[in-house]
Structures are given as structure tokens and as C-alpha cells.
């Protein structure tokens, strides 16, 4: 759909009187709807709908924690239990080393933080559009708002997890170093790296509903394919570069570098590869989403 918009301020100059006496009122914007490809002004249109984005994100958060006794408790219990299991399996049974002096549970939790962000964005986003089909078939707005708003909810859970990590660090008397100031940048990176595959899955899931069966598989597989329970330093040097093709590897390494301090070294070539792959998925996700979102309403 080509949408051309002339954004003009509706001031007095926009009312023109022609010789014939007919008045033309040039409205705020002129919309032309027709079958086509790229939507120009996509991003400015998105900005126009920022309030809807905020209110949808707020709705998802409000609904999530309303009328749930274990709502918050669940957000605490799940990561803690995972932490215990991961620590037992990888540290006690497999006897893998930690990064430097960091206690193993802290190492695991620093990896779980971005992993949970990734997995919940992927899970929430991919079902978000189908779950909001009533909105999509009745009102227009840039559809990308829906998965993006669902990602905001997962950031709340991320905040809870971060508080847990701080608690864990206090428990182990572990002091992070100056790299901690980069944390917001890495959170942004993790969100971007998750939104790419998330958007791709969202769009595919609207068109082909079997994709929702693939997501639990990806997440289960990904938990072990990514260095969540172990440090990526245990991966043999020769493989490390190729291992970084998994974008989550770079994100987790970044988190560890930032949270655990100088003990955890950032393997630069691998990090850059992960960054590149994550960027590629983000581009692919947004492009595919934009291409298919115009027909979402016809698919419900």
C-alpha cells in the first residue's frame, strides 16, 4: 500500500481561495490508499502512534500483574530454580570452570538475564499479533506496535531478574567493576537481537499458524546452544568464531563482560560476528514484518 502524506499545519494559509470562488481546504494530510509496495513515511507514521504504543504496553503490564497471586512470585521462582539446576549440572556434575573469580551461580545468572529476555520476547512477540486479532481486524495502526509493546512487558520481568542478580552478588560479596555503566547499551542490544527473530516469527505465525510449535523447540534448543549455563571460554578456540554465529552468544558474552568485570574477557571477532548476525535478523524481521503486515487483517 502506498501511503503518501503531506504533513502540513492546518493554519490559515492552508485555505486557498481560487478565482472561481471555490475554496480548497488542504487538510492535515492527504492519504492515498492503493495496492503497492513500500510505505513511505512509515517511521513518521509510527511516531504518530507513540501514545498507542505506550498505552498498549501499559495494558499488557497491568493485565499481567492484575488478579494474580503468584504473578510476581513466578517471575522470581522461575529464574531461581533454573539457576539452581544450571549450577548443579554445569558446575557440580560437568565441573566446568567459571570466568576468573566470579562465583559460578553469578556467572550463570549473568547469562540467564539476557537469555530470559531473548526467550520471553520471542515467545510473547510471536503470539502477540494473533492474540490481538480483534484489534487488528477493527482498527488501523502500524502493526509493529503490538509485538514491540509486548517486548516492553518482558523488560519488566528483566528488571525483576536484575534485582535478583544484585541480591545474588551481595550474597556472594561480589563487586562488579566500572564496565557496569555499559549495561543499558547491552540491554538495548539484547532487545534488538531478540526483536529481529521475534518480528520474523510474529509475521510468520500470523500467516502459518504452525510456527508457534517451532518456538518452544527453538527456545529449548537455544538454552543449550547458547552459553547460558557455562562460560563461552570453555568452547574450543577453533570453534569460537563459528559459535558466535548464534547472536545470543555475543549478547551473553557482552552481559558477562559488563557484569562480571575484567575477569570475563570479550572475544572481539566473535562479538562482532554476533552483532552482525543480530543486525541482519533485525533488518530481516522488520522488512518481512512490514511486507506482510498490510495483509494481516485478511488472514484472521
Amino acid at each position: 500500500m502506498v501511503i503518501r502524506m503531506d504533513m502540513r499545519k492546518p493554519d490559515s494559509s492552508s485555505i486557498r481561495t481560487y478565482q472561481s470562488g471555490t475554496k480548497i481546504v488542504v487538510a492535515e494530510r492527504v492519504l492515498i490508499l492503493e495496492a503497492g509496495r513500500a510505505e513511505r513515511h512509515y517511521w513518521s507514521d509510527l511516531w504518530h502512534y507513540r501514545e498507542l504504543f505506550a498505552i498498549l504496553a501499559w495494558r499488557d503490564i497491568a493485565v499481567r500483574y492484575k488478579q494474580t497471586v503468584i504473578g510476581v512470585a513466578w517471575a522470581i521462582v522461575r529464574p531461581l530454580l533454573t539457576l539452581v539446576i544450571m549450577t548443579i549440572v554445569f558446575s557440580r556434575v560437568a565441573r566446568l570452570p567459571s570466568d576468573g573469580v566470579a562465583p559460578y551461580p553469578v556467572l550463570v545468572f549473568a547469562g540467564m538475564l539476557p537469555w530470559f529476555l531473548f526467550s520471553s520476547i520471542l515467545g510473547e512477540a510471536s503470539s502477540s499479533v494473533v492474540g490481538n486479532s480483534n484489534l487488528i481486524s477493527k482498527v488501523y495502526f502500524p502493526r509493529i506496535i503490538i509485538p514491540a509493546a509486548s517486548a516492553v512487558v518482558t523488560l519488566v520481568d528483566f528488571g525483576i531478574n536484575l534485582a535478583l542478580l544484585i541480591g545474588l552478588m551481595i550474597w556472594y560479596h561480589f563487586v562488579p567493576s566500572w564496565q557496569l555503566v555499559f549495561l543499558p547499551a547491552f540491554v538495548l542490544l539484547a532487545t534488538a537481537a531478540s526483536l529481529g527473530p521475534g518480528l520474523l516469527m510474529t509475521a510468520l505465525n500470523v500467516k502459518y499458524r504452525d510456527f508457534r510449535f517451532i518456538i518452544p523447540f527453538i527456545l529449548q534448543f537455544g538454552l543449550y546452544a547458547s552459553p547460558v549455563g557455562f562460560s563461552s571460554a570453555v568452547v574450543p578456540k577453533a570453534w569460537r568464531f563459528w559459535y558466535s554465529l548464534n547472536p545470543v552468544v555475543g549478547v551473553i558474552d557482552g552481559f558477562r563482560w559488563c557484569l562480571l568485570g575484567g575477569e570475563s574477557q570479550l572475544y572481539m571477532p566473535g562479538f562482532l560476528v554476533s552483532l552482525g548476525v543480530a543486525g541482519f535478523f533485525l533488518w530481516l524481521g522488520i522488512t518481512y514484518f512490514r511486507r506482510t503486515e498490510r495483509s494481516f487483517a485478511d488472514l484472521f
Binding site: A27, L31, E51, V139
Partner: protein, 431 residues
Amino acid sequence: MESDVIICADCLGKKYMIGHELERERYIVLRDVIGRSARNFIRRSMDMLRGRPIFVGDNTEEFWALRDVNFEIKRGEVVGIIGRNGAGKSTLLKILSRITEPTEGRVTINGRVASLLEVGTGFHGELTGRENIYLNGAILGMRRAEIRRKFDEIVAFAEIEKFLDTPVKRYSSGMYVRLAFAVAAHLEPEILLVDEVLAVGDAEFQRKSLGKMSDVAKRGRTVLFVSHNLGAIRRLCSHAFLFDRGKLTFGGNVDATLTAYERLYASLGRVIANMSFHGPLADQIRFDQVICKQGGTVASMLDPLRKFQIEVHGFALRRFSGLELKLSVFRDGLHIASCHDTVDPAPLHAGHFISRFDIPEDVFRPGMYTLAIGLYEPPSRWAWCSEVAALDFSENLGERSADRSGGVVGIAYTAQRIQQNVANCSHVDAL
């Protein structure tokens, strides 16, 4: 563009693809099943790789919901859009409100559009009335500041002051609808698209909503209004468009369009040959049409104060030793009555038949009712098809005023008032 044209449609068309199952063979052969499954699997995989949507069924067919539609709407016009179900009215509104894109042609819109295709879009049961006002307002395209400014007005219109902080899942359906409509009624776009939303709530609220709608129209807004309520169209609109099977067949002044509508359907009857019946008997009886007659002639618009007949014309493909036909009447999805053509299942010969129902005067109210046909052959065979036809009653209430004829049916009754003995009450006056 013309001086004050606000919406201009040019050769507008919208195509949908629908899937069909091929007719099944008499008996099922495993080889065929495997073959067909494999074929379908390959086709679906190819569709997926090409990025096309997947269809259920063996082959697909194109279906034009709208085709070759051209019109211009001037600023400040209130345009009613009428036509049968499936005529393309809702598709048009969906294109204009950008929910779906046209397949061909183009629309030029010269103003801010708000669409109201449903009341309470996005309402969430867990959230309170207050929260839902903000949520729904934002979904309909209002700014936060705008909602805050109109908040009290919205609450007053919906009459829910006391329940503002109660989750809407605890609301009665009436309160829910009132709140939903109240938010929508305070939209102030240049162009408002409305789809059949006035058909909700009780009579009192409907009148209030209708009043609000005509206020909106009077304030110089452009309104496109889809409705089956021809009375409301006549009252609100200056112009009307008539759609029939995806084409704009008539457009002009509202009275002329309504006349065209009546003429179109009076001559047509209601052909239901290709309606889809479900159940074991579905392919053993065919139906040609459902006709309503009033005063001996076929009528598309019925007068609620006169008696009328409904005739169901069918064709039995075999002999039945016992069969009964049931006509069910619905209003707004509510099953309000059913009529049977025989007291007990009676024999029916193969061939044409007519089931005729005589309905007395003053049973139905102005507005639209839909009919469903059910078949029953003892002990357990049946067929069913919903929405085979619609009954449309005109806004004629005779001497009575509209508020003395609320509800969806009229019942025969007598009433009297018994007053207490005046002498016993005299001490009240004395006090």
C-alpha cells in the same frame, strides 16, 4: 481533486481467495488419501516458499468482495451505505479505514479518519472502566490530552460514574455497551466511518446514540454509516449508496436509494440455492428461495402492523417417511422464536414443495431479523443453515410512539390497573 471532495474512490476493488474442497468420492481409497495429502503438502510448501497465504481445500477460487467502485463524497455529507449481507459494505469501510488494502484502484482521503467498526474494540475485562476509557480512546486514535479533557463528558454519557473503578468484566452488558459507545461518540475526526454499531443496547440508549450521531453529522463532519436499520439511515443520512454483490449499484439522495433498495430485492426474492447447509440431510433437500408476502404481493420491506406470510420453496431429492422443517427467527444473534411446518414429522414426496407460515400482525418490531432453516428426520438426521434470509420491518408503529414499542417482539396481552380504595388512603391527605 474537486473543490470540497473529501473521499474519492477510483476503480476500487478487493479480491479474496477462497479454498474449496473437491467433491469426495463415494468410498475412500487409502492410495487417494495419501496422494491428495502429498499433493496438498507440496502445494502448501510451495505457497509458503512463495510467501503466499495457505488455503484449506483442493483448489482456490477468486472472490471479488468489491469491484469497480467509483464515488466521491463531499465534505460534510452524511452517507448511508446499504445492501444485503456480503454486498461489500464492510469491505469498503475496512479499506477506507486502512485495515486492509485494496487489490486494485485507489482511494484519496483528504482528512483525519476515525473508524468505528465495532464498539469496545480492545476493551479488556480485567481493566477498570477508567482504564478502558483511556485504552479504547487511544485505540480509536484520540490523544491522551484529548481523552482527559472529555473524560467527565464520556462518563456522564455512559452513566457509569459509580462503577468507574470496577473491572469491566463485572459490568452488565448494558453498561459495557454504554461505556464503549460513549468513548467512540466523543471522537472528533473529520471523517467518521461507522459500521452497524447503533444496533446495540436498549431502545433508550439507541435513541441517545442516534441523537449523538446526528449531532456529529450536524457539526459538519463527514460520516459514512453502514446499517441494516433503514429507519436510522433515513433519519441520519442525506445521501446513500446501495451495494449489491460487490458493486455500487446506486448512489444518490437517501430516499431515492432506499427506493432502489426495495425495488432490487422485491423483484429478486431471496435465492438460497447455494447456501451451505450442515448436517447429514444437507445434500438431500435443496432450497430455492424464501419469500415474504404481505397483502398478496412479495415484499422486501414488511409493515410490522400487518400480517404476512413466509414461504420456503424447496426441492426434495428423495422421499422422506417423516420430516419437519423448522424456521428459526433471530434478532441480534438471539434466538427469539421457532415455527414448524408440521406438528409431527410428516411424509414428504420427492420434488418441489412449499412450506408456508402465516404470521399474525404486530408480532415483530421495526428492524432486521434473520431466519434460519432446520430440518429434522427421525430418529436423528438433520440439516441446518443459519441466516438464509432476513426479515426487514419498516419503522411503522402506527399511533404508538417508539418508546411504547420497545423490545424485539410484541406480545398479545391485556392490562388493567387496580387502585387501592381511596377511603383507606384518606389519612395520607390528612397528614
